[in-house]
Subunit: 202 residues, 2 copies
């Protein structure tokens, strides 16, 4: 991507389960609210939409699942994944790299849209409000890379501008990716090698 | 833009002062709240940021201006511009055209982010939640056309993917545009000729 003739690597980073611990926080809140109901350990999570797997386990559970993540404060209070914020702040400081956070609010946007701004402001800083893009269709966003835990990211633009890097999560770790690279965590430094590699290609 | 090999015209439409009557609603609410203060008639509005012109008129007024558009309900209650919603719904129904609403929330996002979703849901329909993109940098969004009343739309991507069509507003009508087309309203049918013209070019 060019910025007044200077080529910059534009990196889009997803929020839920890429920077923020959606799954861990969900399980904690679910157990608190429904102590008598069965639950799925993180190691056994397998579908992207959490309600799908709970519903398979027991009819009606997806409704209970939904009450958790549509509650006020759920998105605001998501803990960051280990090393995520530090990595993103360092990535933004790299020469020739620009980072945007690219997140889908819930269709029930009442709390999630505002709380995503609150999360970004609190964990990354006030100026990052300028770097948050909320869209239910990420193919509409321009960039060189999208780092996202959702394995299939589709929408109006096909193919999208970006190369999709799958961020490893409990629900996608068992999926064999033929044509996509993975980023497993923000702590072992591999994100930096990945970014450096893409910088060479633009 | 392609969608599984089929070329579609992707149209991005701004919200405030392109679909929604920001200026008219502001003036009404400002006069209500500050009946003793001077105000600027719509025909005399000249700057993109409304506070700038009020501050030029009298020091300290920009703070009062800000209290109006940061109040809860301001964005939710914006009346649509004449013909705007009908035009957008008809545009979406045109063969080979896909429309997204592309809007910048305030840096003070507390109410504006959620209320933009409410506006779109109320005036265009629930499914349009999927078609709202909130970003403070519109150059990050892919599309063939951006219809927007802001004359200078800049950001990380230069040049952006889209051609900018300036939607005529009180604050930009006096500006001479050398390299950009205008769309003056949603009522005289000229938007349709504009879209048909762009369809031929893709």
């Amino acid at each position: 991507m060019t910025h007044f003739g200077i080529k910059k690597l534009l990196v889009l980073v997803d929020l839920d389960q890429t920077l923020a611990d959606f799954e861990g926080h969900f399980l904690e809140k679910y157990k608190e609210k429904y102590p008598g109901e069965p639950y799925i350990e993180l190691k056994d999570r397998e579908t992207f939409y959490i309600g799908d797997q709970y519903e398979q386990m027991e009819e009606g559970l997806s409704k209970k699942v939904k009450t958790i993540y549509t509650t006020e404060g759920f998105f605001r209070d998501l803990p960051p994944l280990e090393g995520a914020c530090k990595a993103v702040l360092e990535m933004e400081e790299m020469d020739g790299v620009e980072v945007f956070i690219c997140s889908s609010p819930l269709f029930q946007y009442k709390y999630s849209s505002k709380e995503k701004y609150e999360w970004v402001e609190h964990h990354l800083g006030k100026n990052w409000i300028n770097k948050l893009i909320l869209t239910r269709d990420k193919t509409m966003v321009t960039g060189n890379i999208l780092i996202d835990d959702k394995v299939k990211v589709t929408g109006a633009v096909h193919p999208p501008a970006w190369t999709h890097i799958v961020f490893t999560a409990c629900h996608n770790k068992h999926i064999r990716l033929r044509d996509k690279k993975r980023l497993d965590n923000w702590t072992d430094g591999s994100w930096r090698a990945l970014i450096e590699d893409f910088k060479k290609r633009i």
